[in-house]
Amino acid sequence: MVVYLDHAATTPMLPAAISAYAEAMGVVGNPASVHSQGQNAKRMLEESREIVSQSLACDPIEVVFTGSGTEAINLGIKGLYWARAPRRRILVPGGEHHATLDTVEWLAQHDGAVIEWIPLDEGGRIDLAALEAAIIRDPLDVALVSVIMANNEVGTIEPVAEIAALAAAHGIPVHVDAVAAYGYIPVDFRTLAAAGVSALSVSAHKVGGPVGIGALVLGRATTVEPLIHGGGQQRKVRSGTQDVAAAVSFAVAASAVTAQLTAPAGGGETARLRALRDRVIAGVALVAPTAVLNGDPARRLPGNAHFSFAGCEGDSLLFLLDAAGVSVSTGSACQAGVPEPSHVLRAMGRNELESRGALRITLGHTSTDADVDALLAALPAAHAQALAAGMADRVPGH
């Protein structure tokens, strides 16, 4: 049996989303066409947009479908930056996803942006006082603030509404990367927009929909420069023939998100995941008392357990658990597959050694108690062996 505990990377598609996807792919018609088949495609697309908008508590017109969460983040950040020219400053916390980091760094290298990294505390929480101080230093030159809603690696939930309020006081737009948060905690765009959020990115495959479609929720009053030019689809913000089948499948997953998040407080899927996660945390503490739970212990995603194991490589643990049939993650790897020390942990002030002992275990809609049992059964041997392997590939003293 293979135990999948890497739901933050991607989560299994819902069977209903798969069948809806397959069925919709059999329907011909470009939603931009005037004839009845075009109108039928348009109807399927807009119904899907409505269902997705309900899961995000926004208006359908505010949902701009993209090809991925990464594209949505690029559109949110570059689009706002270009629309706000000649303002140069971008304020962003250090532990963001690479979709944000690499985008703002590109803008700094190629388009004159000045990045100001807002520090995180040891739990991965953004330093609000430092953010406010950075804004006040020269508010008129701030193009935007971009912040992750919940960290994809360590699971810390950021006070997005408070962050937005600080920026909104100076008329500065805020982009929110909600890719990791979506489906796990409520993402209420209407409330966030009232606090000052202008744009928010999500991805379908993190919630049981297909890979290949994401969305930027773009407030009605917000203007962004498009990345892609062409037929003028979707408020002229994102040209290109719209992917009806992917949107239909996304909508099936989104309706499940809506149902989960409107479950009574303290119950439903969130509570179920939290209970499984707490079993993981308690079990790891027994096996490896020196392992550190990274991220905010309380304000964290219900499915996320992220640890630094002292004296061993996360890399070794991943390999040994994989050999035992349990799939987990160390965090980030470069394009060639080289494990890299987590930039999130580095931003939280951890040293390189602690960053290298990192292991992320994430639960999702298919996770069960049996999965946690299997992890906790495989972990003692894997941990003992990884400890014995130690830091063989490191230079002593480095």
Binding site: S316, Q335, A336, G337, V338, A389, D393, V395
Partner: protein, 388 residues
């Protein structure tokens, strides 16, 4: 698995022999290059993908292990330091010694593996008492036992070279094609993997600041100036900007690079011939000779593709005050083209017996004015500035 054809076929043969095999690609650089043409065996994105595709086809798990930190310190920095000290190192041997059959093997053993299997062309045979021995590959032209000469008994006991008995590379390529590996026709890697354009001199020049110094003859007379001793290798003829011609009118060659005094010594071609080489860093590949202090017959090979030369060798004491020893090799006929830092591998028949890093040589032609041989400095200090 480098992403090349040899390691892919070696892995496939190990799988077929019934071993439980896991493909491992070594990340040796923190800044993997972009897509380069051809394999250079050093963790380009394309090489990593090629290795993974081969692993997919044979149905084995595949991982990338990061040894970039060790590689930089033990191979790249060592390469620069050796050059700065006037020696000519072989980084592939250093990588085998420190990375592939040391750090990698160590990590693998700790994680529960029994052996490291590579695509090197060499053989491991077992003697009558069950001891493992390292031997040349069946195919002389492809033999890579020289670069494995640094392996010790323990390392050999945990190594597998499934390509050792294969007569030709063409056969390996044909087998790869038969197995459906996309790398069947991938070009061989040459050069040094961490110097992508193959310009070793240029690469070193960026890392070791050249300092102007004197060019001397063997009697110690100054013949001219050089603009950085590091740029010269023993045996080099071109690039010596000496104004006055030699008394005998014959061309002069670099005989020595002396980093401590930042001087380059030149002389006639005949003086390049060496009657003795020695090194105090030496290892035995498998069982050591029972009496290494007694002179024994062997063959010595001083480069990966040099012909082996009949010789006698023995371990001798080099100091009256401490227990310093060295492996001394006396070839039956003088050796040419040897530079300090190079490795001398000694063979008995096809068996690799051991190796030493050459740190002392004796010319076969005495200096004309004095009869004293001219030992090459083995000090590691250098006036050149190392930037790396």
């Amino acid at each position: 698995m480098s992403g090349g054809v040899d390691s892919a076929v070696a892995a496939a043969r190990a799988v077929e022999a019934g071993h439980e095999v896991v493909g491992v690609h070594l990340a040796l650089s923190r800044m993997p290059g972009t897509l380069r043409t051809g394999s250079r065996g050093c963790c380009t994105v394309e090489d990593s993908m090629d290795a993974q595709r081969a692993a997919n086809i044979m149905g084995i798990p595949y991982y990338v292990w990061d040894f970039s930190e060790r590689f930089k310190l033990d191979v790249v920095d060592d390469f620069i330091a050796e050059y700065a000290a006037g020696r000519t190192p072989n980084p592939c041997m250093r990588c085998n010694e420190k990375i592939k059959f040391a750090a990698l093997l160590e990590k693998a053993m700790a994680l529960g593996f029994d052996a490291v299997c590579t695509g090197h062309y060499a053989s491991i045979l077992t003697d009558a008492d069950g001891n493992k021995e390292l031997h040349r590959a069946a195919a002389w032209a492809k033999d890579q036992s020289y670069v494995l000469g640094v392996l010790t008994a323990d390392q050999i006991n945990h190594s597998m070279f499934p390509l050792g008995a294969t007569p030709t590379k063409a056969e390996v390529r044909a087998e790869a094609a038969e197995r459906g590996f996309s790398v069947a026709n991938k070009p061989d890697s040459y050069d040094i993997c961490f110097i992508p354009d193959g310009d070793t001199k240029g690469w070193l020049g960026e890392r070791v600041a050249p300092v102007t110094g004197d060019i001397l003859d063997r009697e110690g007379n100054t013949l001219g100036q050089h603009d950085g001793a590091v740029a010269f290798t023993v045996g080099q003829r071109k690039g010596l900007s000496i104004g006055t011609p030699a008394a005998d009118g014959k061309p002069r060659f670099v005989l020595e690079v002396r980093p401590i005094t930042n001087t380059v010594v030149v002389g006639p071609k005949e003086a390049l011939a060496l009657k003795e080489i020695a090194g105090n860093f030496f290892t035995w590949a498998g069982l050591a000779p029972e009496h290494p202090e007694v002179e024994f017959a062997c063959h010595v090979q001083i480069r990966a593709h040099a012909d082996p030369v009949p010789a006698v060798a023995q371990v001798v004491s080099t100091s009256e005050t401490d227990d310093s020893i060295e492996l001394r090799i006396i070839p039956n006929e003088p050796l040419v083209g040897v530079a300090p830092g190079q490795t001398a591998v000694i063979y008995v028949g096809t068996r690799v017996l051991g190796q030493c890093t050459i740190d002392r040589t004796v010319s076969a032609v005495p200096v004309t004015s004095t009869d004293a041989p001219s030992p090459v400095s083995s000090a590691s200090a250098s006036p050149a500035t190392v930037n790396a």
